[in-house]
Symmetry: C3
Subunit: 269 residues, 3 copies
């Protein structure tokens, strides 16, 4: 059984510094959710300082949401630095499959960097695993079959020797041996931008606090975000997307360990 | 008579994917307002994937708010791709006239790309139309004479063979033949950053859902935003700029067709 | 005695245009806080327009939060333009000391540009002043000794012939001769991203409105932000980080001169 509450407490005790090379669309949310959970963000994407920043961090996020040739180079430098220093690397292949450049970049990053956790929607994970199928932009299509997520997560985890989180209505997290499903969350989360990226940032916060247990960290991060999405719906769902967005950040920052444990809906077969 | 409600319903039915090459100041708002109205955003600005992303989109936004030589090149690639595939292109000449670089870039884009709709404040539209007058930054000056907007919109629409939306206290939308004024909106909208850019993104959402009727789409988008600005004021205006900002996104996401039709204040002579 | 209320009224009368070359993490907050206090923002970071934009502005912000070689070049151009035209330059050395590139860039900017005000946390100001000590990312560490701030601010102000604001639980502002401490603020301000950057933007708004009195302007800006942080806590503190964020912007936009004066807690020895 994964001890969600203990994982969460570690984040608040360790206060990991999380280096992000990420997109400019949701970067403010990523910084705030990192602070909200009790970690510290640093965003830096220039090749001149990529290695320095990663070296002082407890975890590294590589998110290709608005990638360009300059930042991809920095991702390679930071990823290799993290690998050398055993710092967890969390990879978010945003929009992989939607353009040849994204697919190629994801492939390059996966060839050169040992990832700790990969988090994406089913289209993105399918794309990096080499399965057929097209991605329609960066948001999970409702046509994505959730039933395939489990097999895909397990296969991709074994393929890249890491933990894979396939997020959707139900999240599936696998290290290739163990597979856990997370049922927390609310459909409204896909109605705003940034929930995927925030899931990635939270995964990095939890991995930074407990680098020896990436499966437990990845599951706990998604439970935390999912519960926050549920609580935000209760508080502000009917008000609209702007209020829901703020309520989601509120809920992460106001989370307590007991609530987190009691509301968790995870299953491991 | 423009059927605002039907236009809006089309957006929700079609769920158009809108490719944005836009500025990093308001990009989060652009993504969220696109989702709020029922469309899907994708932000991608690298030349390596510009054509790919535009090819899978229903509409393209070119917003020069924080332009640089790298993104201008991508705008040219995406714009030409959109033209070849008959995908609507919505151009926002943010700050045109405020620097030689912006004016020159706007000119280059207009020479090389057939725009579907151009949306800007009166200073920006004056600048691209070649009229004298200086722009003071990116916000519409209160000294801008609203009375000139109609003539300017008509002239500029004929000049570039497209629809032109001159937004301000009253918005004027013209295709050179028909001219419609939109009286919805609230002065508080100019007290926060991003309302102009969001108007552009919404215009793209409506054009993506009904590419054959850009005038109707452009008017409907501005009615939708204007009404949201009014509703947001009623709900949160007195609280301040942060709450108003969220209430504006709330109102777009919670809009219903009947309200949209009943509150619309548009005039076509 | 510094006339906070009069300083604030000047901002609203002058409506200064503030050119920002800043990071993409908190840029939306910087734009909104600039509007909230009664000034106008323009964000532009390309070398092709850096001089043009600075020339029409009342103040310039140089914030190295997500610096890269392209934007550093623009900062040098804009900074020199501002110096030639006697436009105040406000420098925020975000994360100085956290990477060799940041420290080197801060040094280059300080050698080539005459700053009007430098605002940073104690680690950042220590780094640019050449004092030993390491910075842990971009957020002020709780281990920072507030008691050293006064000596540091005075020394650094004399070193660079400008005003230096060392912000923390108590803010210290010095021009090397006079030193003022600002006790307004709330610990929750460090729990969200962007308060440092917003303090820098507000400092630029106040300097743009009264360029002859940078010490008064810098103090007034921090009082304004600090009081807004207090009011935001009263209104929304217990709701969480998202609501607090919006309430902080609300409070800046809804500030009135009398409140500002009455709540101010400043000390000058």
């Amino acid at each position: 059984m994964i001890q969600i509450e203990e994982q969460w407490k570690k984040v608040r005790q360790v206060n990991p510094l999380v280096h992000h090379i990420t997109n400019y669309v949701t970067v403010n949310d990523c910084a705030n959710v990192t602070l909200a959970v009790g970690a510290s963000p640093v965003m830096a994407d220039d090749r001149e300082e990529a290695a320095d920043m990663t070296s002082i961090a407890s975890a590294l996020v590589l998110n290709i949401g608005t990638l360009n040739s300059r930042t991809v180079e920095s991702m390679l430098i930071s990823g290799k630095t993290a690998n050398q220093k055993d710092i967890p690397v969390i990879f978010d292949p945003v929009g992989a499959g939607a353009s040849a450049f994204r697919s190629r970049t994801a492939e390059t990053l996966l060839k050169n960097i040992r990832m700790t956790v990969i988090r994406g929607n089913i289209s993105e994970i399918r794309s990096i695993s080499g399965e057929a199928g097209h991605t329609r932009g960066v948001d999970a299509s409702s046509a994505d079959a959730e039933s395939d997520a489990r097999l895909l997560a397990e296969k991709t985890a074994r393929q890249f020797h890491c933990v894979v989180s396939v997020t959707g209505a139900v999240d599936t997290v696998s290290d290739g041996e163990r597979t856990v499903s997370v049922e927390n969350g609310h459909p409204a989360m896909s109605g705003m931008t940034g929930t995927g990226c925030m899931g990635t940032s939270l995964t990095a916060c939890f991995c930074g606090a407990d680098p020896a247990h990436p499966l437990e960290a990845a599951v706990s991060a998604l439970v935390c975000l999912g519960e926050a999405g549920e609580i935000a719906w209760e508080k502000a769902g009917m008000l609209g997307i702007g209020s829901y967005h703020m309520a989601l950040l509120d809920a992460v920052s106001r989370m307590d360990g007991e609530t987190l444990r009691k509301r968790a809906r995870i299953h491991e077969d």
